[in-house]
């Protein structure tokens, strides 16, 4: 049940997509998102979708796996769709019901909005599926490092992120374990009204918090006893280097973005 939460999960592999430098992938995801929101015509949408499909195929991650990421926010997507459906102004009315009007423009906007959201999630999940959390935060830290000049705590932020990412699976596992242990003593997490359910969470939340604090404490002791004192003068075990494929990918990304803008103008 909780295992279905795949956010931040990494599927190891050895494909071009996996091998790209995390910085490249981060930049390309931003390019992709910009393109997705810039796309206005069907042709532009089609191009973005083709690029997404090609990238997913290259990564050898199954499409069903990629689609799983959509599940947790399905409700948000549906609400967005419905709002767009009824509150888009348009001329070609399909039907009117009391104050609600559905127009062809609304149908179009809603469909495109849903598609856009799904593709947005697919794209970002492709990044986390193919990049280990460590590589991801390393990449982020290096990309943001110019901000250090402005005294922005880039290293601390990246460290916090990597610790958080590192502990998400641990906490999920722990939650599962504690839930099982309490169920073994007859705890019931699935039935009853809201109040009863909230009460039933107590035997889960107390041990979970206790253990999270214990872990935090242990980790800080472990870090301090290895003389961790922030980012100053720290070297890396794995130096990130741009390879030729990274330059190639970045150039393709630029071409892709330009093509989307061009398609927006050509086929209106």
């Amino acid at each position: 049940m909780l295992k279905d939460v795949t956010l931040g999960q990494f599927f190891p592999g050895d494909t071009v997509v996996h091998r790209l430098d995390p910085r490249t992938k981060l930049i390309l995801v931003i390019v992709y998102i910009v393109a997705l929101f810039a796309a206005k015509t069907y042709a532009a949408y089609a191009l973005v979708m083709i690029v997404l499909i090609v990238c997913v195929s290259l990564s050898q991650i199954r499409f069903t796996t990629i689609m799983k990421g959509v599940k947790p926010i399905l409700i948000v997507i549906l609400i967005t769709g419905i709002l767009n459906l009824f509150f888009t102004q348009g001329e070609h009315v399909i039907f009117r019901l009391w104050k609600l009007t559905m127009t062809w423009e609304g149908v179009r906007t809603a469909a495109l909005m849903i598609l856009r959201l799904i593709m947005l999630i697919n794209g970002t999940f492709l990044l986390t599926y193919t990049t280990s959390p460590i590589a991801l935060t390393d990449g982020l830290e290096l990309l943001l490092s110019p901000l250090k000049k402005l005294r922005f705590p880039v290293h601390e932020l990246a460290m916090m992120m990597s610790i958080a990412l590192r502990f998400i699976p641990t906490l999920i596992e722990e939650t599962d374990k504690i839930m099982s242990a309490q169920k073994a003593r007859g705890a019931d997490f699935d039935t009853g009204g809201i109040v009863q359910r909230a009460k039933a969470m107590l035997p889960l939340l107390v041990p979970l918090f206790v253990s999270a604090f214990r872990r935090a404490d242990e980790l800080s002791v472990a870090m301090e006893s290895r003389c961790y004192h922030g980012g100053e003068g720290r070297t890396r075990m794995k130096k990130l280097t741009f390879a030729r494929r990274d330059f190639g990918a970045l150039i393709l990304g630029a071409v892709f973005l330009a093509a989307v803008f061009a398609l927006n103008r050509v086929w209106k």
Binding site: K3, F11, T65, L202, V206
Partner: protein
């Protein structure tokens, strides 16, 4: 007599349909008689914990059945729930599940979920605490203020208080010091003697299960690869060693003595056994 708990072709696959698909147990057939003490040993990751969590319905099998008193425990939701109380499960490091303000309240969590009367609950809490070796002056303390060993006893008492017919332990002595281990094992043996509960114990400590179990199961790669009385199992030292299992140290000593030419039996697994064997050799007039 019919077995109290039984599994038929029990198979569980984790993460089916993902790249992480893994068969944790594969076609396990198992039976436990009423009152039996069964020890389960096996390398880490061999599927022991997965197996025992099926026995009280916490994990649903991918295929196969679990029968309690001849009835499938997954037949209806009610039956699964009832099974939780009839088959008690003490998880590994159970002290991490404590949550109540006082030890007393924590132990009574299980009986309360059984909707028992106040009086019945009180009786069971006191009884269970006694079995687990907890004195009553800890009752009003916060479980978080106890020592590690006492925390574990509190958690074990919490399961014993449900008066299960089958009590399963997953590595109950892990992380305890030697004297703590010994005391806990004594408490468990004592509990068994007084209540006649069927006990299934997963353990990494060969010494513990060798001395206490009627029957041993050896898990390897999702299968039961060996089973029998402790003396049967420990007479296969070489095989156990290739499975990465540590054999009781006295068994190794006995083995070495055999290699040196002494006619000592193969199935030695307690110091007591070895002593008797050596005494017998002396009486038979054997001189090294």
């Amino acid at each position: 007599m019919d077995p109290i708990i039984k599994t038929e072709k029990l198979t569980h696959v984790y993460g089916a349909g993902t790249p992480f698909e893994h068969t944790a147990i594969d076609g396990i057939d198992f039976e436990a008689e009423r009152g039996e003490f069964i020890g389960i040993i096996g390398h880490t990751g061999s599927g022991k914990s997965t197996f025992i969590q099926h026995l009280n319905g916490l994990i649903k099998p991918t295929s196969g059945r679990v029968l309690l008193d001849g009835h499938d425990i997954f037949e209806t939701k009610e039956r699964t729930r009832e099974t939780r109380f009839r088959v008690g499960l003490v998880f590994q490091y159970p002290e991490y599940q404590l949550f109540e303000e006082t030890v007393y309240k924590d132990i009574s969590f299980g009986p309360k979920n059984m909707k028992l009367s106040e009086r019945e609950i009180d009786e069971r809490v006191r009884e269970a605490a006694g079995f687990a070796g907890l004195s009553e002056d800890t009752f009003e303390k916060s479980p978080f203020d106890l020592s590690g060993g006492q925390k574990r006893r509190t958690a074990i008492a919490g399961v014993m208080a449900m008066r299960p017919e089958v009590l399963i332990f997953d590595e109950p002595t892990a992380g305890l010091d030697p004297s703590g281990c010994k005391e806990l094992m004594t408490n468990i043996m004592n509990y068994r003697e007084k209540t006649g509960t069927t006990i299934i114990m997963v353990s990494h400590s060969m010494e513990d299960v060798a001395r206490t179990a009627d029957r041993l199961l050896v898990f390897k790669n999702a299968h039961i690869v060996m089973q029998g009385s402790p003396s049967d199992v420990f007479s296969h030292v070489a095989e156990l060693k290739t499975m990465g299992l540590t054999v009781p140290r006295v068994t190794l000593v006995a083995l070495r003595l055999r290699e040196l030419g002494l006619p000592i039996p193969k199935d030695i697994y307690t110091v007591e056994h070895l002593k008797n064997a050596i005494v017998q050799l002396r009486e038979e007039g054997y001189h090294a």
